[in-house]
């Protein structure tokens, strides 16, 4: 789950919990006791009214009672005051008959004591039995709007409005807060990704704005770091380029000078000059390979990717290598091939395969063939097997190190620069592929695996 959503949810949960706690605490320790106090007080009042009515009717008769009830109505304008007979006829009140109340009247007379019913939805009804001196039984009934517990949020449209307003405010504020906290982080993350993808000019400071907190500090630190990385890589690139230029120039001059010397040479000096030429050639090749390797290793060289027909590429390289091998009484055989496409730089893949293949040709025994096989399973796999006696087991992982030479191969007659396999490894790695070597029978087997792309799917 992303940070923004988490923050938002946490804020929302917190706000809801705080609201709930306050609501219940208020209800339990404030509203409820107040309501029950009011109810108790109302019951007492009903008791007083009932006793007074009974006394008055006994001592002053029906006229006295009527006067009392009128006075009561004046005192309590919010309550409707009625005196209803057993038969439902109204002795005092606005209506003449209350048949709907017969049931309640019956129950009150049966109970014989005043009571207040708060359970009804809209109103509270207080009832008390009143007995006239002639034995007729009546019920004093007070009806009024129920003293609802003052609910802030439930039960009325105002309450719901209040609730909705609170909820909305909460959600909006939480949203803003979450956004405020998470958006700079997201920006910094995006910048990190662009930086990792190689855009070294990425900066984040502008986007984070005028904040003054840890996140702003982080953004500033990021910018400092990015700037430093950019400087380092730029200077490294510059260095690589400068070295290449600086080393190449004297070599180029050396070559031309050598050729002029040759123009003027005699038979005796000719072989020595040829030797110098060979060495200078080797030096040139090593410099170029070293540069290729350093570019690949730093990953600074971005290369264009295209869809490559691997079968054709392998075929091509194998044919070239075969041509070269024939001159030494060796050969290169394409044992099997399969249709497969990979995405990448043709130049890099070509040099990788070429380097491994040339290495095989160099070490395979005279009269034998280096076998090349291309297969396409879950990955594209190129297998290159030579017959050169293999490599001591404990040195096999070191084969891909620059300038690593196995045992007697250290004498330079083999002609390699010691960089071919290292370049191959880096080139394959740049394509997210794998390269590994192992001993088989009488030689070395190098396997290159690359992600194949399924053209049918697209």
């Amino acid at each position: 789950m992303n940070l923004f959503f988490k923050l938002f949810l946490w804020f929302l949960v917190t706000a809801t919990l705080v609201f709930t706690v306050i609501y219940f605490v208020t209800k339990t320790f404030q509203t409820e006791p107040m309501v029950s106090r009011v109810q108790r007080w109302t019951r007492n009042q009903m008791q007083v009214y009932s006793e007074t009515a009974n006394q008055i009717v006994t001592s002053e008769g029906e006229v006295g009672l009527r006067t009392f009830l009128v006075r009561l109505r004046d005192i309590e304008p919010s309550r409707e005051i009625e005196l209803i007979g057993e038969d439902g006829k109204v002795w005092f009140g606005t209506a003449s008959e209350r048949p709907a109340m017969l049931d309640l009247v019956g129950r009150t007379l049966e109970g014989g004591s005043p009571s207040v019913d708060f359970s009804l939805e809209e109103k509270a009804i207080g009832t008390a039995p009143v007995t006239f001196p002639d034995g007729r039984k009546f019920v004093l009934m007070l009806t009024w709007e129920a003293p609802r517990p003052p609910s802030y949020f439930f039960g009325s449209w105002l309450g719901y409005l209040r609730l909705a307003g609170m909820l909305l405010t909460g959600v909006v504020l939480c949203l803003l807060l979450a956004l405020y906290l998470s958006s700079p982080i997201r920006k910094i993350r995006k910048a990190t990704q662009t930086l990792a993808d190689g855009d070294l000019t990425t900066r984040v400071g502008e986007q984070v704005g005028k904040r003054r907190d840890e996140l702003a500090d982080l953004a500033r630190d990021f910018d400092l770091m990015a700037e430093r990385i950019e400087n380092l890589i730029m200077s490294q690139k510059r260095l690589t380029r400068d070295i290449s230029h600086e080393l190449r120039s004297p070599l180029a001059r050396l070559n031309v000078a050598l050729e002029i010397a040759k123009q003027k040479s005699n038979v005796e000096t000719q072989p020595v000059l040829d030797r110098i030429e060979n060495e200078s050639l080797r030096l040139a090749e090593m410099i170029s390979k070293l540069l290729t390797l350093s570019k690949l290793e730093s990953g600074s060289e971005e290369f264009e990717r295209s869809t490559i027909d691997l079968a054709a590429l392998v075929e091509d390289v194998a044919a070239d290598a075969d041509f070269e091998a024939k001159a030494k009484g060796k050969s290169v055989k394409l044992v099997s091939t399969a249709k497969c496409n990979v995405s990448g730089s043709e130049t890099l893949l070509r040099s990788a395969i070429e380097n491994v293949l040339r290495n095989g040709v160099r070490y395979t025994k005279e009269g034998t063939a280096v076998e090349v096989a291309l297969s396409n399973g879950s990955h594209a796999t190129i297998e290159i097997v030579d017959h050169g006696g293999g490599v001591p087991q404990d040195e096999i992982t070191k084969l891909f190190r620059p300038f690593y030479r196995v045992g007697e191969a250290r004498d330079r007659h083999s002609g390699g620069t010691g960089l071919g396999l290292a370049i191959a490894e880096q080139a394959i790695r740049a394509h997210n592929g794998k390269i590994k070597a192992e001993n088989v029978n009488d030689g070395l087997r190098v396997e290159i695996t690359l992600d194949a792309i399924d053209l049918k799917k697209k």
Binding site: H245, A252, S288, A321
Partner: protein, 227 residues
């Protein structure tokens, strides 16, 4: 006597190359910066330019690009050895050949001679004009039109196209192309023929029906297909 313009910021190298080439019978002039080189190259006083890629200010590619707007002066580029992208960019921009630096002077000489021979007139070896479908090749003016539209080719591309058109519908082997057009034996790992062919394809464009004019026969050669 052929006049060669050398554009390279390495003054000592220029001196040495001049000495070497004059011993081989060339007349040379050295320039050490891109913009001066461009100026000289446009002056029409030269038969060929040797152009280094790495130059202060205006680099070799820019010089070549600007030069190609007005001139078909044969250009041999000196590229950084092992840097394939440079090589490819050079050939795409319209260099007649390239040589990775540091180079073997004998090879430089051989390529110079090959380019000059071609520029001076392999033309008379051609039948007057070649017409294949909508492509017209005029030998005398060394000009090419495709569907009445003029196409500017370097002299190497012209010869390459001529060799393919002469054998239109038949496969021309890479070895043969290398020997007749580049005037050198095909060596393994040499990609320059492929690059020149790919430039040629781009310049000629597709046929009206969208098909490719020049087909590659893997590890054999190329074929100019008949519509």
């Amino acid at each position: 006597m052929s006049r060669i313009l050398i554009i390279d910021d390495d003054e000592e190298l220029c001196e040495l190359v001049s000495e070497y080439l004059s011993a081989e019978g060339f007349e040379t002039e050295c320039v050490h910066s891109g913009d001066k080189g461009l100026e000289k190259a446009r002056s029409n006083g030269f038969d060929l330019a040797i152009l280094d890629v790495m130059l202060p200010g205006m680099d070799g590619f820019e010089v070549l690009r600007s030069l190609r707007e007005t001139s078909n002066l044969p250009v041999l580029m000196l590229t950084a050895r092992g840097d394939d992208t440079e090589r490819i960019v050079g050939l795409e921009t319209g260099a007649d050949d390239y040589l990775p630096k540091p180079f073997n002077p004998r090879e430089l000489l051989a390529r110079l001679r090959a380019i000059l021979r071609r520029a001076e007139g392999t033309g008379d070896a051609l039948p007057e004009n070649l017409v294949v479908d909508d492509v017209k090749l005029a030998a005398a003016s060394r000009s090419v039109t495709v569907d009445e539209r003029g196409v500017t080719l370097t002299s190497l591309e012209f010869d390459l196209l001529a060799a393919l058109l002469k054998n239109a519908g038949k496969t021309v082997r890479k070895e043969a192309l290398s020997e007749t057009v580049l005037e050198r034996k095909l060596s393994p790992y040499d990609r320059s023929l492929d690059m020149h062919i790919s430039n040629l394809r781009k310049k000629l464009g597709l046929r009206n029906d969208g098909s490719e004019r020049i087909k590659t026969i893997r590890s054999v050669g190329y074929i100019y297909t008949l519509a």
